[in-house]
Symmetry: C2
């Protein structure tokens, strides 16, 4: 399958100026340039002044929680969790997690997101949804453990993580990867960190965890262990793995120095952190320390959307405001957080940028929308003015998943029908 984008604009950060022709052969970007090489193209798409840019990578999500979008908004965190979310999660089953995951993926595809990192349970269901819809995901079974005397080699959740790894890692043509995950420092005993950390190393896979999301959690860890959550993870060997640390709102300057020594990626979730009243992550210090900052949406229950473009726009703006300096965030840097850096966090080194040899994970953006007139810089347009509805096409591994409002891998009406049924069962 050969697809050509003809006379399309590319983001300046891709290193090209003016319009170019982009040839996609099967999964890969084969050619970028002013020439139109001889290809037997299956399809030629006219650029029409529109913008081709890398698709978005969402490095922190709980996809099935889309079922709980708007369920208990505006409550303080502990009441929201105890009165709303935990009882709701208690009623989850395979079918409900599948439907929630499908809703999440449908929303992400139209928002230009082609890959997500997920921490949840009933992983087989989310994996099935990923396989069917053509997106990519790093899925993880998020473990909680409260028994220091447990034999973790027999722990059901650990065994489930290993099972899922064996069944799904590398499947769907490499689109599915299975990471290990502990929910957080405060929700696991230290021994579990040692055990799962060693397991992660053995499997040579990624590791997902919540870190210093709230002030209380950060301070309680210090009281408990005499260490910050980041120092605690380093001590237990977790940081030797390819860790994606979600939130990191309350990390100290010392934590940032420590992180910079490890292959860590930070999943910055600005909207969730604002919505739950957690605070504003020290982005500038992390960037200055050279840490790989990426963007995540968190679950729809605490956002309430799954749009990395929205996270990108929030992140760019709130750090300028919080530091009272408009030069703190630069559009090109922030776009990289939303694309290439996310692919790196997921261990997908040939993804997240538009260059010859890269996987063709791209979106085509409508530059004729009133949102985007005028446009003096494509970076500025992406960062400050474009909306999700300006996304004309979403491609993952060279496959068109969405075009002009229509899905190619999702039966939209059927999914909405199923969603209605699941949601009504769930809350009556």
């Amino acid at each position: 399958m050969t697809l050509i984008f003809k006379n399309v604009n590319l983001l300046e950060s891709c290193g090209y100026s003016g319009t170019v022709n982009v040839v996609i052969k099967d999964k890969t970007i084969e050619y970028i340039g002013a020439q139109m090489p001889e290809y037997n193209a299956d399809r030629v798409i006219e650029g029409n002044g529109n913008l081709l840019m890398p698709a978005f990578y969402n490095t922190h999500c709980h996809s099935a929680m889309t079922l709980f979008r708007g369920y208990g908004d505006d409550l303080p965190l502990q009441r929201w969790l105890n009165e709303k979310i935990f009882p709701a999660e208690d009623l989850l089953n395979e079918e409900r997690v599948y439907t929630g995951s499908m809703l999440a993926i449908a929303e992400m595809i139209k928002n230009g997101v082609v890959s997500f990192s997920d921490m949840y349970f009933f992983l087989d269901e989310t994996a099935k949804a990923v396989e069917q819809t053509g997106v990519k995901a790093n899925l993880s079974r998020s473990i909680v453990s409260f028994d220091s005397n447990a034999d973790f080699s027999k722990d059901l959740r650990v065994l489930e993580s290993i099972d899922v790894y064996k069944n799904w890692n590398g499947k769907a043509d490499g689109r599915i990867k299975i990471d290990m995950s502990l929910h957080a420092e405060y929700s696991n005993v230290p021994k579990c960190f040692d055990y799962v950390g060693a397991l992660t190393k053995e499997l040579e896979t990624g590791f997902q965890i919540h870190v210093s999301e709230t002030k209380a959690e950060h301070e309680e860890c210090i009281a408990r262990h005499g260490l910050t959550p980041t120092a605690f993870l380093a001590k237990h060997g977790i940081l030797d793995n390819a860790v994606t640390a979600a939130h990191c709102v309350w990390v100290s300057d010392e934590d940032i120095k420590l992180m910079a020594k490890y292959p860590i990626s930070i999943a910055h979730n600005p909207v969730s952190n604002l919505k739950l009243g957690s605070g504003i992550m020290p982005y500038k210090k992390m960037r200055d320390a050279g840490i790989n900052v990426t963007l995540g949406t968190d679950g729809a229950a605490s956002n309430n959307r799954l749009s990395v473009l929205r996270e990108l726009q929030f992140a760019t703006l709130i750090h300028k405001g919080a530091e009272r300096d408009p030069s703190v965030t630069l559009a090109a840097d922030m776009i990289k957080c939303a694309t290439r850096n996310g692919a790196i966090a997921q261990g997908r080194m040939d993804c997240g940028e538009i260059k010859v040899g890269s996987r063709a994970d791209v979106v085509l953006v409508d530059m004729s929308s009133f949102d985007n007139i005028p446009s003096y810089s494509f970076e500025s347009t992406v960062c400050y003015s474009m909306t999700e509805s300006d996304i004309l096409m979403t491609l993952c591994d060279g496959n068109i998943l969405y075009e002009n409002g229509t899905y190619t891998t999702i039966d939209e009406q059927l999914l909405k029908h199923e969603a209605k049924r699941v949601i009504s069962h769930y809350f009556d």
Copy 2:
């Protein structure tokens, strides 16, 4: 002209539950209820589970600056103004202001905004655009003055304000109102405040001004006059008028107490304040003091969009994050800031809410979009998940201005063509 929305959902804050029928006769909402009274309807629109809500009011804008969207982003404020915006504005003329205003209005209509307050110049051109497109606006000629010895009765900008008032106030069937405006405390001599304040009182019209947008401006006013900008305005009698004070990021607790004694409205511009690094307005204190807080976009040059929905979503989220308390902002309150409170600020007392007798300024929101599934509360959906592209229809004074992506009062292709020409002339 009689229009019926049949079996449509209304925001709970409107006081109705379940679906209702809404009858709009000419400009006004004539009936809301479960019955379907006998009307010779010109058109019946099926609700289909969608949401009818008040349209958005934008209380601070410089509409023609849409021409400068993305022109010099990420620069510090003074460099942005001196190197980019001031030289660009120096080249403005009637045609350019008209085209910039039309671009702004087209963007606002699709974003569900039916009325805006504007501070700029070449007001005749913006007024023409408002008249043609069917929206509402409170337009003001933003005056700067640096000569204490001037005779303001002969000042050209004051005379222009009076002329525009005479020519346009109340025109276009009351859709156009003309306010008086001084740009800011720091850009005018005290004598000009006395003169224009008295003029505003005489004309019984509104007054628009920037107040305490930046820390430097706030502190320099104290150094200059021994008064904060708010206290300075009170001293010069300005606050006796119906003032819309834009920004108010740096107002003191004393300023807030003072404001609460006057018929003032605050135009909160969260995105612009973040983007320019100005800071975060003390929303909670203002709300607790009972001040009429409204939402504005500011100009597209410092935003870069003209979406009150986006401002509403940013405002709701950033104050939770900044105060580290998710209960600081409530969805229903914030929606009121974006709708009814804005209408009050503009002196349009019969606008901004859905009730019998109100002007029919409404938007119809697609509840079948993946953004909005599930929806446990309409307020939550509006505040946290809906996007501008979920807006199916925008009505102003009962007229449909936009429906399913099509404008009824704007020739979209012609406007884009004109915009291209104006922008290319301007920047080559």
